[in-house]
Symmetry: C2
Amino acid sequence: MNTLRRTLFATLLACLLSLPAEAQEIIRHFPVPATVSPQLQTLIASPAPDYWNFHPRDRKEWKEWTGNFAQQLEKTLPNLCSSLNVSISSERLGGVPVFIIQPKDLPESNRDRILLHFHGGGYVLGQGLSGTQEAILMAGIGKFRIISVDYRMAPDFPYPAAIDDAIAVYRELLRTTSPQQIGVFGTSTGGGMTLILPLRAREEGLPLPAALAAGTPWTDLSKTGDSYFTNEGVDSMLVSYDGWLGEAARVYADGHDLKDPMLSPIYGDVRGFPPTLLTSGTRDLFLSNTVRMHLKLREAGVDADLIVFEGLSHAQYHMNPDIPETRFHFLELARFFSTHLKEH
Amino acid sequence: MNTLRRTLFATLLACLLSLPAEAQEIIRHFPVPATVSPQLQTLIASPAPDYWNFHPRDRKEWKEWTGNFAQQLEKTLPNLCSSLNVSISSERLGGVPVFIIQPKDLPESNRDRILLHFHGGGYVLGQGLSGTQEAILMAGIGKFRIISVDYRMAPDFPYPAAIDDAIAVYRELLRTTSPQQIGVFGTSTGGGMTLILPLRAREEGLPLPAALAAGTPWTDLSKTGDSYFTNEGVDSMLVSYDGWLGEAARVYADGHDLKDPMLSPIYGDVRGFPPTLLTSGTRDLFLSNTVRMHLKLREAGVDADLIVFEGLSHAQYHMNPDIPETRFHFLELARFFSTHLKEH
C-alpha cells in the first residue's frame, strides 16, 4: 500500500502544480557514483541545463539563444588560455575563418604535426571563439598545435555549409602539410564531422589524414541507436533527442535525408579509414552513436580504439581542466596522435 | 489527466493482482534496436529469465537450482560441438578437473598456443560440462586449443576455492608451456577470475600469462559502479544486483570483504598486466564493471582494449553461434590472442 500511496501522492502533486509532467518525468535520478574523482562527482551531480528542452520557433529565437550561449562561454576562455599557457590567433584558411591554438611550450616532436579541430554544438552552437574550448584543452594538456575551424552553421547556413568549410580548410592545409602529419579531432557534432571528413575527402580525391579522434560523435542524426532510448533522461547534458537536439538535426539538415552519410557518417563506407579513437560515457545519450561506429570500423578492418568513461554523460570530459578525467582524456588523445602522426 | 488515470489504473491493478510490484517495476522496456542483426534482435526481445530474482534460502535450494541449470545447458552442448567441429575430453591438471576443448581443424600456428578458460555463473552456476559453452564457441570459431577449468564453487566451496583451483591449473600448465604462449579468457565471473589470476600469480611468484580477454567481468562484487544503478532493469540477463546475483556474491565470499582484490580485482594493483581485451554491451549491468577496469588498466599503462556491443545485455555475445555478433566477438578474441601469444 505504501507504493500506492506514494504514487498517488506524486501524481496528484504533479497535477496540482501543473508541471509539464511528461517532460519532467523524462529526467531520471541516480546516485552519484563514488567510482569517479570528487571533481567529476560534482559535475555529475549538476542538474541538466535548463535549455535541454528548448524548441526555438524561428530564426530569431535560434540566433538569440546561440548568441547568448557563445557570449557566456567566451567569457571563460581568457582564463582557460592563461592557466594552460596557450595562445590563440585567428586566420583564414581556404577562405574559412580558423583559430590557431598552440601551447607556448610546444614540444620539438610536435613542431611539424598539426591537429584539425571541429567544435561541437549540434551545428548551431559554438560560433567564433566560443567553439575553441576543447582545442584549448588539447593544446594545453596534449601539447599539440591546432587549427580549430569556425565553420558556418544553421539556421543561416544549413547543410552542406559546415562540411564544405571543413573540407576547404583541409584541402588548403594539404598544400603545406603532409597528410601523415595531420590528425583530426572533435566532440559531438565535431566528432561527427571528424568522421565525415574522410568520406568527403575520398569523394574529392584527397588523401586521408593520419588519425581521427572522435569524442561521443553524432554519427546518426536520426533517432536511431539503442542509447537514444536507454539513456534518455539518464544523460544530464543532452537528456533526450526530443529536446533542442532533434530540432538542431532538422534545421541543419534542411530537408535532406538525416541518414545521408554526409550528415550521419554511420551510413558511410569506412573501409580504409585511418586509426580512430572513440570516446563516450556510461550515461551518454550518444553511447550507441559511439559504439556503433567503433564496431563498424573494426568490422571494416580499421584500427579503432574505444574509451568509455564511468558515469559520464555526453561530452563531460571536455568541460573543466581541473577534473582528473579531463586530463586523462586529453593525454590519451596526445598519446594516440603521437603514435600515429609522423614527426617529420 | 490521462497520466493520472493510467498511473492509478496500473497501481490498482498491481495491488489487486497482488504482484510483487516493486520487483516488477524494476524491469524497464525499450524498443528493440534495429541497429543490430535480426538474430540478435530476437535475443534482445526475449524476456528476462524467470530466475533473475531467485533468492535461495538454503544449501538445498542452491544445489537444486544450479543442478537443474547445468542439466538444461549440458543437453545443448553435443549439438554445439558437432556443428562447430569441436572435440572435448576431460582430464585433471594440478589436481583440478579440466576439459580440453579443441577444433578438429586446429591451425598450425595455434599448435603450441593454449587458452585457459574460466566459465561464468556467479561462482554458483556452470558446474561440469555446462561451463564449457563459451570455450566450445572459442574453439570452433576462434580455432584455439582451450583448457576450461571446472573449478569448485559455492555454496559447498566458497572463496578462495575457485581461485585456488584456477592457480593450481595455471601453475601446472607452466610446467609444460611458456607463459608467452598462454592466454586467459572468460566471461562474467570467468572474466573476473581472468583478472584475478595475474594478481594471484604475482603473489605466488609465477610469471604472468601473455594476454587476457575478460568479457563483461565481475570486477566488483559489491554493488559499486554506476551501471549497477543506471542499467538496473535495462539489462535483461541479470536485471539487478538485488536478484540472485547479490546472493551469489555473499554465498561465495562467505564473510570475506567483497572488496578484497581476490574477489573484486578492480581493487587490485594492475600495473604490469599483459595486454587485455574487455567486452561489454550498452545495456549491460556490468558496463561499469568493464569500463572501470579498462580505465584503470590504461591509467596503469597497460595495453587495454575495449569493445562495447550495441544493445547487448550481460554476456549475450556468447550464447548462440548463429548470431553474427557472436562470430564477430570470437573472431576479435582470436585476432587478439594471435597478436599477443607467441607462435612457437
